[in-house]
C-alpha cells in the first residue's frame, strides 16, 4: 500500500516527542566505535543507563575525571546494570566521530560501549538536550529517571545546589535495585548542548 505523501511529510515535520518517565523507553539500534550493533531490546529485563556523551565537552570531562561519574558505571555494571554512552554529535560538530570518542574512552578509562547517533534521531527520541544527560531504564523497559548526573552543575561535585551533593543517578539505581520507586525521577540536565545537526 502506498503511503500518501502528505502523511510522510507530516511525520517528518512533527517534532520529536521526548521519552517520558514511566513510559516505555524508545527502542534503538546503534553501532558502537567498533561497528558492533547494539539494540535496547538486547537488554530486555535489565536496568540500562544511557549516558549522552560528547568527548570534547568539558562538563563530560569533569564528570568523568572529578565528578559523579568517576567509577560509577563500573560499580553498577558489576551488579548487572548495562551502561551505554551515546554520542549524538553530528558530522562537523564538536565531539563527532569515532576517534575522538575512542581517545576520550581511553583517557577516562571507560570500558563500556560508546554508541554513535550522528543523525541525532535517538537523541531526539529521548529528548537528550545536554552532555552529560542521563536516562535510566528499569527492568520493565520503562524510563525510570532522566536528567542530570547530580546537583552540582560544574560537573565536579564542587557546587551542589543547596549545599549538599545529591548523586541522582546513583540514587535512582539504588532505588531500582531495592525495588523502590525512583524518588527523584526527573531533574534538569546541565552541561553542553547536544551538538545535533539541526
Amino acid at each position: 500500500m502506498r503511503i500518501p505523501n502528505v502523511l510522510v511529510l507530516l511525520a517528518l515535520a512533527s517534532p520529536a516527542i521526548a521519552a517520558e518517565v514511566g513510559q516505555p523507553a524508545p527502542e534503538f539500534t546503534l553501532t558502537d566505535l567498533d561497528g558492533k550493533v547494539h539494540r535496547l531490546s538486547d537488554h530486555k529485563g535489565k536496568i540500562v543507563v544511557l549516558e549522552w556523551f560528547n568527548p570534547s565537552c568539558p562538563f563530560v570531562a569533569n564528570s568523568h575525571t572529578k565528578g559523579s561519574l568517576v567509577g560509577t558505571p563500573g560499580r553498577f555494571e558489576k551488579t548487572g546494570v548495562v551502561w551505554l554512552a551515546i554520542n549524538s554529535s553530528a558530522p562537523g560538530k564538536q565531539g563527532h566521530g569515532v576517534e575522538s570518542s575512542r581517545a576520550a574512552a581511553k583517557r577516562w578509562s571507560l570500558d563500556y560501549p560508546i554508541l554513535l547517533d550522528a543523525s541525532g534521531a535517538i537523541g531526539k527520541a529521548y529528548g537528550a538536550t545536554n552532555t552529560p544527560h542521563i536516562f535510566v531504564i528499569g527492568k520493565d523497559g520503562k524510563l525510570a529517571y532522566k536528567g542530570a548526573v547530580d546537583n552540582s552543575p560544574d560537573g565536579e561535585r564542587a557546587s551542589p545546589q543547596g549545599g549538599v551533593l545529591v548523586d541522582y543517578v546513583t540514587a535512582a539505581l539504588d532505588d531500582l535495585a531495592a525495588g523502590r520507586p525512583v524518588h527523584t525521577a526527573e531533574t534538569k540536565a546541565y552541561g553542553c548542548s547536544v551538538k545535533y545537526a539541526h
Partner: protein, 177 residues
C-alpha cells in the same frame, strides 16, 4: 586596577590575542586552601602571582576592589565576567570565587558562590543570552594595610559550537585604612 579592567574592556583591549587569559588546560595547577571561613594568613607581604584582570579568546574577567576600604568593616569587591562574541556566559554554571590563602581577609565561605545577587547584562546581538556578569564578592580585611585580594574565579562561556569552563586566578592589591 578595576579601572584598568574596565578601560581595557571598553577599548577592546581584552580582545588582544596576546593577553594573559588562562585556559581550561591550565586549571590543574590552580588550587586554594582555606580553613573554616577565614582565609589564613600565609604571608601578607607576598607578591601576588596573578593580575587583577585576564582575558582569553572567549572572555574577559576582572576583580574590582571597593573604592573605600576600612579594616574591620564589611566590603564588597566585584567579579566581572564578560563573554566575547559569539560566546555568552553560561548561566547554568555555578560561578564561584575560591580565595587564595594570601592575606588576612575574611570571606563568608571557602568557596563563594557568585550567581546570587549578580548583575547580568544581555548580549547586544543575542538578547536572550547574557554577555556580562558583575557579581558581588563580600569580604572583610582584618587590619589596616595593603594586602592582596586574590583567588580563582570559575565560570563558563558557550557559543553554539562549544562550551568552555574557565578557572582564572586573579589578584588585586587592596589598601585598608
Amino acid at each position: 586596577m578595576a579601572i584598568l579592567f574596565l578601560v581595557a574592556a571598553a577599548s577592546g583591549v581584552l580582545g588582544c590575542p596576546h593577553a594573559s587569559g588562562l585556559d581550561a588546560s591550565r586549571e590543574a595547577g590552580v588550587a586554594a586552601v582555606s580553613r573554616g571561613t577565614t582565609v589564613e594568613l600565609v604571608t601578607a607581604s607576598a607578591a601576588p602571582d596573578a593580575e587583577p584582570a585576564a582575558e582569553g579568546e572567549a572572555f574577559g574577567v576582572g576583580l574590582e576592589p571597593p573604592a573605600n576600604l576600612r579594616a574591620g568593616e564589611p566590603a564588597i569587591a566585584r567579579v566581572v565576567v564578560m563573554a566575547r562574541s559569539p560566546y555568552h556566559v553560561n548561566r547554568d554554571y555555578p560561578m564561584s570565587f575560591r580565595p587564595d590563602p594570601v592575606a588576612v581577609i575574611v570571606f563568608g565561605a571557602e568557596r563563594i558562590a557568585l550567581n546570587d545577587g549578580a548583575e547580568r547584562t544581555p548580549c547586544a546581538n543575542q538578547p536572550a543570552e547574557v554577555c556580562k556578569v558583575s557579581a558581588p564578592l563580600r569580604f572583610t580585611v582584618a587590619r589596616p594595610g595593603k594586602v592582596p585580594l586574590a583567588g580563582t574565579v570559575a565560570f563558563s562561556v558557550c557559543n553554539p559550537q562549544r562550551c568552555l569552563i574557565e578557572k582564572v586566578k586573579l589578584s588585586v592589591m587592596v589598601a585598608a585604612r
